[in-house]
Structure formats: structure tokens, C-alpha cells
């Protein structure tokens, strides 16, 4: 495959060029809270060795709140104004493999029975520059869900830090190829030996559980009390769903409504919220936290795989790291695996 080299100085110049051309350059913020678009090449942060940010960059592809149309009621006329997403390229720099795969995984559901133009437009306009990850803590489990710290799938371009000043670059997709071509002057030819050496040094953690076994167990154990342990302490906030790079449930509401005008908004929603499945009749099929937690696990490890042959999880561990009551999704999956093995 094609490999190139870039040094830190050229990377900075590249970012400046991108900013001058009015593209969005998005990287993790210094405090590892979330991702933000920078306005200065000096603010670039490539977090390959640190903890994943609390919140993923999902909000740039699937905004936490977005208007899908506006309406105006005039005397003779009813006007529906659609607001298409801006035609602005977004370049994500420094996405670990667990982040980089998020767009691909989510695009399956957004192109299923309905092609969601909001998602697709943004996904089309995105270029993901991934980076090989050298961080690992007790919450990470990318290898258990088919990824690894050096997985290139999901990135358009994959960076491998050779040392403080230099990155090797692997071109993964055609989009990546186009991008490199446009900014050719910043890259030099690659040295596959050096990048291979760095990759070999990266520790690939052992798998914690087998997703197929987990899926099978869930299929046959819907009423199992295993989910009660998490359900008894889960407080029903939306942290896990909102921090997750692939959770995508949304709520449609109307806002700013008077007789003459209003707008329809698409907002993030979470299956852990108590009212997520509340019907207007007052009936709530998932009326306790155990049922809601079961839904989360089942959706991620079974239902999504049934439909799209993808696990709806990248093993980044954000949900577990940020859970106010310490519910660790990898541990739950491990327990399920254990249960499946004992059966």
C-alpha cells in the first residue's frame, strides 16, 4: 500500500492551508473533554498516547441538536424551509481506531430503510486521519470487538508516529488518496521499515470476550437476571449513549412554535432515559432500569449485528470511564461470556 512521511512542521503548514481554505480542522481538545474545531495550527493535538476524550467526535457528524426544517405560516402560504448541512469539508485529525470506525459503523443504520441526508452529507464531507494508538487502560477493549490499536479500517489516512517530529502515513481509501494528492508538497516518500518497527512495538491487548458467544447468549437469555446487577445501580443518565462514538438514537421535537412559525429539531436521545419508551397512553414497556440496560447490551452486541453485521461498539471504553456509578460494559460482556461458557 502507499506510504508517505510527514514531519511536524509540514503537518502544521498543512493544517494552516486547510484552515485558510475554510475547511474545518477538528481534533481533540487539550483537556481530553471532547473534540473541537481549531482556528490555529498551533492548537493541533494528536492524542495517540493519551486517554480518549470524554465525548467522541460524533457531534460533528450527528450534531447534538440540529434543525431539520423550519416552517412559516403566512396568510396565503405555508412555507417549509429545509436547512441542508453546510457544504464544508471536515478533517478529523488524530482519531484512534476506536474513533475512526464510528462513521462507517453508523452509516449502516443511516442508509438502511431511509437514506439520511443529514448524516450522509456530513459523512461525505469528512476525512478521517486516524492514528495508531499507544494508550491502554482497564476500560479499553477494542480487540474484543474486532479492532486493535493499529487497525487502519475506518480511517482515510492512517498516521503512525515514528518519533516526536515525524509521522508515517498510510493511505487507506480513495478519499485519502485524493487528499494526499491535493497537498502533495507536504509529504515525502515513506519508509515501510520504520513504520513497521513502530507498529510492532505497540502492545495489542488480549481479547476480553468473544462477541459471537455474547450475541448467542443474549439471543437465548432475554429474561436473565444478569442485567439486574447493572440495572440496580444504573441511575438512568445519558452519559454512556452521548459519549459513545456509535450510539445514534435521536428525538424529534418541534420548537419555537407559535401559529406562524417554528422549527423541527433532531436531538440526541438515550435508551437509558426513563421516558425513552414511554407511550402516550402512559404504558412504558421498558419500565425499569434493568430492562433499559438489557436493551443497551442487546442492541450493541446482537440487534445491530443481526441487521448490519457490525457490532455497535468500538471498544473505546468511554461509557465505562465516564459512568458515574462505575458500570463497565466490558465487564458485563465478560460476565455474559463466562455464563455462556458455563452453559
Amino acid at each position: 500500500m502507499d506510504e508517505k512521511l510527514i514531519n511536524a512542521e509540514n503537518l502544521s503548514l498543512l493544517v494552516s492551508d486547510l484552515l485558510n481554505e475554510k475547511h474545518l480542522v477538528i481534533c481533540q481538545d487539550e483537556k481530553a473533554v471532547g473534540w473541537k474545531s481549531i482556528n490555529d495550527a498551533g492548537k493541533l493535538v494528536i492524542n495517540n498516547a493519551g486517554v480518549p476524550s470524554n465525548i467522541s467526535y460524533k457531534e460533528f457528524i450527528l450534531p447534538k441538536t440540529e434543525p431539520i426544517f423550519f416552517f412559516k405560516n403566512e396568510k396565503e402560504n405555508f412555507n417549509l424551509v429545509e436547512k441542508d448541512p453546510a457544504d464544508q469539508k471536515m478533517i478529523f485529525i488524530g482519531a484512534k481506531p476506536c474513533d475512526a470506525r464510528s462513521i462507517e459503523i453508523m452509516s449502516k443504520v443511516f442508509n438502511w430503510d431511509y437514506k439520511d441526508k443529514f448524516f450522509n452529507k456530513r459523512a461525505e464531507n469528512s476525512i478521517v486521519i486516524g492514528v495508531a494508538c499507544s494508550y491502554q487502560d482497564e476500560f479499553c477493549f477494542c480487540t474484543s470487538v474486532g479492532l486493535s490499536p493499529v487497525t487502519e479500517k475506518g480511517s482515510d489516512i492512517f498516521l503512525i508516529p515514528l518519533n516526536e517530529e515525524n509521522y508515517a502515513l498510510r493511505i487507506v481509501t480513495d478519499k485519502g488518496k485524493e487528499f494526499i494528492k491535493s497537498y502533495e508538497k507536504y509529504f515525502s516518500d515513506g519508509n515501510t521499515g520504520a513504520s513497521k518497527a513502530v507498529l510492532e512495538k505497540i502492545n495489542i491487548p488480549a481479547k476480553k470476550f468473544d462477541t459471537l458467544k455474547v450475541k448467542e447468549w443474549i439471543t437465548n437469555n432475554f429474561e436473565n437476571k444478569l442485567f439486574d446487577e447493572a440495572g440496580s445501580i444504573c441511575i438512568g443518565c445519558g452519559q454512556c449513549a452521548f459519549a459513545c462514538p456509535v450510539c445514534h438514537c435521536f428525538d424529534i421535537i418541534d420548537e419555537e412554535c407559535s401559529y406562524t412559525c417554528g422549527r423541527r429539531m433532531k436531538n440526541w436521545d438515550a435508551c437509558q432515559f426513563g421516558q425513552f419508551t414511554l407511550h402516550s397512553s402512559g404504558h412504558n414497556p421498558r419500565n425499569n432500569q434493568s430492562k433499559r440496560y438489557r436493551q443497551r447490551i442487546a442492541h450493541k452486541f446482537k440487534y445491530y449485528h443481526d441487521k448490519f453485521e457490525e457490532i455497535l461498539c468500538t471498544g473505546c471504553g468511554r461509557c465505562s470511564r465516564g459512568c458515574p456509578v462505575g458500570i463497565d460494559i466490558a465487564k458485563v460482556a465478560e460476565e455474559i461470556n463466562l455464563s455462556a461458557n458455563q452453559a
Binding site: 443518565c237 436531538n267 456509578v325 458500570i327
Partner: protein, 288 residues
Amino acid sequence: MNELREKAKDLLQSGTVKVIIGYTGTSDPYRTKPFIARTAEDADKLVFNNYCVNNLAVYLTRKEYKQNGIVGIVAKGCDVKAIIQLIQENQINKDDIYIIGINCNAQVQELGKEFGSETIATKCLNCFVRTPRLQHTLIGTINELPKREDVHLEKLKKLESMTSEERWEFWEKEFERCVKCYACRQVCPLCFCDRCIADKSIPQWIESSAHKRGNFSWNIIRAFHLSGRCIGCNECERACPSDIPLSLLNRKMGMFARKEFDYAAGMSLDAPTLVGSYNTNDRQDFIK
């Protein structure tokens, strides 16, 4: 720890309590998580150390613990303040709970880091409820605490010295990051409303969208609903994935309630609540 486990075992086996809400260890020595002990075997899993940050009183208002037998709860001073406030507001009955009070030697600000003078929680620095004010049994001994600067107080003073414009800018930047996950609300023992005003959609008083206006509305109203009720456990700030300094808002209102009305939340079982009562001599110099 053994004292706690023995006591818990005894309470469960004798049928004095139906369940005990406590903490249990995890594979990380610097982390614990909430745990519901139902049997003597479970009781052996209970722990208490410097990593028991959760305010377990948040579970007491759950439906499954109401009128279902006495609920035991392992509680440190700040948690007991929440329990007292809940009793004061008639949300739980004193006779329905059994408080296993702990003489607390402070908690960490952030789980996963070893306890020490750098990592001790800011709220613990000036704690005056090391021994909980209400308990049915007391476990543990008080030791001296490491010291460090009260960073929150410093930030508060800085904010108070800013102009109105600067403060707005500060909070605008903070609230912009809010994603409306409601972790702050869910983790708070005093946000116990069956249906939060933010969830009311006809009419929609607080916009559920996570845009600036909706975020301002939510955070301001939540801070107001907690004025005079927040007991300062800072769980909201810890739970927030966007690192919004919620403790500043709540602490400011707590300090103001003390200064203006000589009222502190979670101190007295039968005192009237701050906003639920009034004094004919309340200040009115701002009213024309």
C-alpha cells in the same frame, strides 16, 4: 472494613433491613462502585475507603425501596446531609431507613487516582460532618486529613470579581459544552421529582435541545431548584462528561443562602425548608 461487614451481615441476617445500599470494590484499587447487598454473602463484598465518592442517597427515593421493608444505607457525612434534607422534605421516612454512618476520612476528587494531598476532593477540605449528623450505628474512626488549596473557592472569588459581561462570557463558554445528558440531575439525591420540569413537553418550559439557549435554561433552573437544598456532594460536577463547573453554581447559592438567611441544607430534620417558608422580615430593598 470488617466492622462494616459484620454489622451488615448482622442486619441482613436478623431481618432488620431488607437490603443494604453500599459500596463494593472493583478490579482497580482506586475505584469503588455502588452495590446492593441482599444476603450475608453480599455483605462480605461491602467496602469503605477513600474511593467511595458516590452519594448513595440518590437510590433512597427509588420506588423499589419505598414501603418494602427497611432499607439500610452505608452513608458518610455528606450523604447523610442529603438524607436529612430528604426527610425534611418528606421524601423518605426516618423510620424506613437504617443509616450505617461512617466516620469519613475524605474521598478522592476523581476516581482512579491514589488518595493523597493532590487528589483529595475539594469538598472534603472543609468538611464539618466528618461524623454524620444522623445515624443508627457508627463505624470507623476520624483521622487527620491532607490539606491543599480550596480551588473552587478561589474560582468563585475570581468569578465574583468579574464584571457581569465577563461572567456571562464565562458561563456561555461552559454551558456551550452541555450535551443535556442529565447526568447531573440523575446523580443528584435532591433531584427526585417523578417528572422533572425539563421533561414536561406540553408546554415545553425548558427546551430539551442542547443549544445555547436550552443549555442556559436547563442549568439556571436546575441551580435555582437546588438553591438552599444542595448539600454540596459535588456528584453533579463529577458526573458531567463535559466538565462543566457545576459545583461553582451550587456552592455560590449555598453560600448565599447561609449569608442571607442563615440557612444551610441538610442540617436539621424538622426545620422548615428555605424556599418552602418565609420570614416577614426578609430583605426587600430591591423591591420598589
